[in-house]
């Protein structure tokens, strides 16, 4: 496997009375979408602020493409913070130019790229307008452009879809996929796990300053499969079989039923199907794949049961 774009090794961060990160290690592979998931106050933003060099880790090391993270990497990182905004009384075009140049882009280069992004996002008529004259959705587009304008190889989006309307969210999703395909690496940080799980190639779950779980989404899901299937059909299903266990049974109208069945160890789905076919008319048969959210809760319950007690969001700093 290639060197990951980002290697996080045993990072600790302590704020006055609160531990924000407690020995977190991660590998973020190149050209992928990485989900940094966890509830509010878990330490996601603290980790991101260390990666973006807004703050520094107390202990541990971060490597960017094998090099120790240093200020020269800032130009290769694009960051859309959770707390994001724009200068309200500045023109859209000027603002983008300013932010791009602060990221180390030359004036001519920046102007060129602003033009193409503005066109792509249908903002052309607004380029000479002050930001405060734009609708919220348009401002979000401008913010996104500002994040990616300098063509960073690592794009970090903190709660990217909070506050985005569905249309813009989809637009941004498409852009993110396109950027990934063109070679960028994207880190999503969110507490709304369901919003990004279908896009992520890899994820890491963080809870209470610690990493709970990480790896490719596919592998994790396989690992957390529960051998549980949904069955819908018609007939009288009376499962009395040593290989299966019915977790849920619902009688519906006209002799229809809905069941959730768990296979015991060593039993294949085909065994269940065969049994079903010989007894009832099968309309639907589907594996129940756990959502990342379910996995998270399960994992937390297994590893740190004490933390399931009411999570108080900590003040982020």
């Amino acid at each position: 496997m290639k060197t990951p774009i980002l290697e996080v090794r045993d990072v600790h961060k302590q704020y006055a009375a609160h531990t924000a990160l407690d020995g977190v290690s991660l590998d973020i592979p190149e050209h992928s979408i990485f989900g940094l998931l966890g509830p509010n106050g878990a330490g996601k933003t603290s980790l991101i602020r260390i990666i973006t060099q807004i703050t520094a880790a107390d202990e541990g090391e971060i490597r960017f493409r094998g090099e120790k993270l240093n200020p020269s990497h800032i130009a290769q990182i694009g960051y859309l913070p959770e707390e994001r905004g724009l200068y309200k009384k500045m023109k859209v075009g000027e603002q983008l130019l300013y932010l791009a140049r602060l990221r180390g882009l030359g004036r001519a280069d920046a102007t060129e790229r602003i033009k193409s992004w503005i066109t792509r996002f249908d903002l052309k008529p607004w380029i000479e307008k002050n930001v405060e004259d734009l609708s919220k959705g348009m401002q979000q587009k401008v913010q996104f452009i500002a994040t990616v304008l300098h063509e960073p190889s690592l794009i970090i989006l903190d709660e990217p879809f909070s506050g985005f309307d569905p249309i813009n969210a989809n637009l941004i999703k498409d852009e993110i996929l396109r950027l990934r395909d063109e070679g960028s690496t994207i880190i999503f940080s969110t507490h709304r796990m369901e919003s990004v799980e279908e896009m992520c190639d890899n994820i890491a779950l963080i809870n209470r300053s610690r990493k709970v779980l990480d790896g490719p989404v596919r592998t994790i899901k396989d690992q957390f499969k529960t051998q549980t299937y949904e069955v819908e059909g018609k007939g009288r299903l009376m499962v009395m079989h040593p290989d299966f266990e019915v977790l849920k049974h619902q009688e519906r109208e006209n002799g229809h039923f809905y069941d959730v069945i768990k296979l015991h160890a060593g039993v294949t789905p085909n065994d269940l199907l065969r049994y079903l076919i010989s007894n009832v008319e099968v309309h639907a048969f589907r594996e129940l794949i756990p959502s990342i959210n379910d996995i998270f809760i399960r994992r937390v319950r297994e590893t740190m049961p004490e933390s399931l007690v009411e999570q108080k969001p900590e003040i982020k700093s």
Partner: protein
């Protein structure tokens, strides 16, 4: 460094391009000039007071008063045959007559009880004293002549001393120009005070705005918080300097254009026009001396009217300008970094009040105390010395002392202390700023702020 430069540019351009900046730059000097021309017109050139006199004492006070009358008071006989009638008539003639002076029948040279000054409304102290002086003079003269001294002797006896204060620290012991010196001291220190205040608050507002706009984190993922803070402070400093430069050029232009016109009218009524001309010239430079006609008289020798700026003769212009720029910038840097820290620490403007208090107190105090110590007291006394050494008060106190002449070693020491002072406040402010800008929704206390100073990285 490149990034600081970009930030300075943005902070500068967004402010300079504002309409309000343009209007301020254009109107302020005109407004100031107009104000002082106005003041000059109404007070400086002071129309002659007309005082009606009703004399029942038989001492012929009216004749005596009229013969010794000065330019600024004119005495006329009151109409009417009784006091009541005279009063009534005076009330009707209030546009022409300013006061009614009444000498009762009991009035003698030795007993003045019952003498009254009647007027519609209050008589200003100034007018009262003018009239009292005239009456005193007349009574004094009459007493002298009553004791057998003739008028020529009396005239010869009158002292007429004028003092020319000479400042020996100046080259060749130039004439000490008290009016201009005091005026310059007032004007320069009020400029420093005002501008530190106005633009310090602008820094604070700018930081608070970045914070409430939520652009702060976007910014500091590109630049260091310290760069962002310093860029803003320096950018706004450049705005102030631009404003100064514009005002200076504009004032110079206005006075150069207006001076010849004003000089012409001088021929007709010398004191008024000369005063007006000086007022105009001084308008942009020294504020508070102007309304005082005495100072204006001191300021320009009649030969000086050819250039409206001549009243500055005798002032150490080089050290004033250099010192002013240095101490203004030093004071601005010192205070604005603290304002920046406040802006970073609070979530909204209302919270800022409690933290502004300790920052503005030394600023206000140093202005008020300095006026009493430097201008009304001894500009080179020990208190003035210490005020001009402490970095929190020196920007104002030292600028106030400049026109009076300050020894070089004091300037250098005070300058060094000021540089040290603003390096220190900037360091403290940067540490508070760094933590504060990312802190949302937390009620900040002084204790909290002091903790921030010691946060790591």
């Amino acid at each position: 460094m490149d990034k600081i430069w970009l930030i300075i540019q943005r902070e500068y351009l967004t402010r300079v391009r504002k309409k309000s900046f343009f209007i301020m730059s254009l109107l302020a000097p005109l407004l100031v000039a107009a104000t002082f021309v106005g003041i000059a017109k109404f007070s400086g050139s002071s129309e002659t007071d007309v005082v009606a006199v009703r004399d029942e004492s038989g001492q012929q006070m009216l004749q005596h008063l009229t013969t010794t009358a000065t330019e600024d008071v004119q005495f006329v006989a009151a109409d009417g045959n009784t006091l009541a009638e005279a009063t009534n008539l005076f009330k009707k003639a209030k546009d022409k007559q300013d006061a009614l002076l009444y000498f009762p029948p009991t009035f003698t040279l030795d007993k003045s009880t019952g003498t009254q000054l009647l007027a519609n409304g209050n008589v200003s102290l100034n007018r009262q004293s003018k009239i009292r002086k005239a009456v005193n003079r007349v009574v004094g003269d009459l007493k002298l002549s009553r004791s057998g001294i003739n008028q020529t002797t009396i005239d010869n006896l009158k002292a007429n001393v004028e003092l020319d204060a000479v400042d020996l620290t100046q080259e060749g012991g130039r004439k000490n120009n008290v009016g201009a010196t005091t005026g310059a001291a007032y004007f320069l220190s009020i400029l420093v005070y005002m501008f530190i205040f106005i633009y310090g608050v602008q820094v604070m507002r700018g930081v608070a705005e970045e914070k409430s706009n939520r652009i702060m984190e976007v910014m500091i993922s590109s630049v260091k918080p310290f760069q962002l803070m310093l860029g803003k402070i320096l950018g706004i400093a450049a705005v102030v300097l631009t404003q100064f430069a514009l005002w200076l050029i504009l004032s110079w232009g206005v006075t150069s254009l207006a001076a010849p016109l004003l000089m012409k009218s001088e021929v007709k009524s010398p004191p008024a026009a000369a005063v007006a001309g000086i007022q105009e010239a001084k308008a942009s430079r020294d504020a508070p001396t102007v309304p005082n006609a005495d100072d204006a008289a001191v300021a320009p020798a009649p030969t000086a009217v050819s250039s409206p700026w001549n009243f500055l003769d005798g002032l150490p212009i080089g050290s004033i300008v250099g010192g002013f720029l240095f101490f203004f910038l030093g004071g601005y840097l010192l205070y604005s970094s603290m304002f920046a820290a406040i802006g970073a620490a609070v979530d909204d403007q209302t919270d800022a009040q409690q933290f502004m208090f300790p920052v503005t107190i030394p600023l206000i105090l140093s202005y008020i105390v300095s006026i009493n110590v430097v201008i009304n007291g001894d500009p080179n006394g020990p208190l003035a010395f210490w005020l001009s050494m402490i970095p929190f008060t020196s920007p104002i106190a030292m600028v106030m002392r400049l026109p009076f002449g300050v020894p070089l070693w004091q300037l250098l020491l005070s300058g060094a202390l000021l540089v040290g002072g603003f390096l220190f406040t900037t360091w403290v402010a940067a540490r508070i700023y760094r933590v504060g800008i990312l802190m949302y929704g937390k009620k900040v206390t002084y204790r909290e702020l002091s903790k921030w100073m010691f946060y790591k990285g």
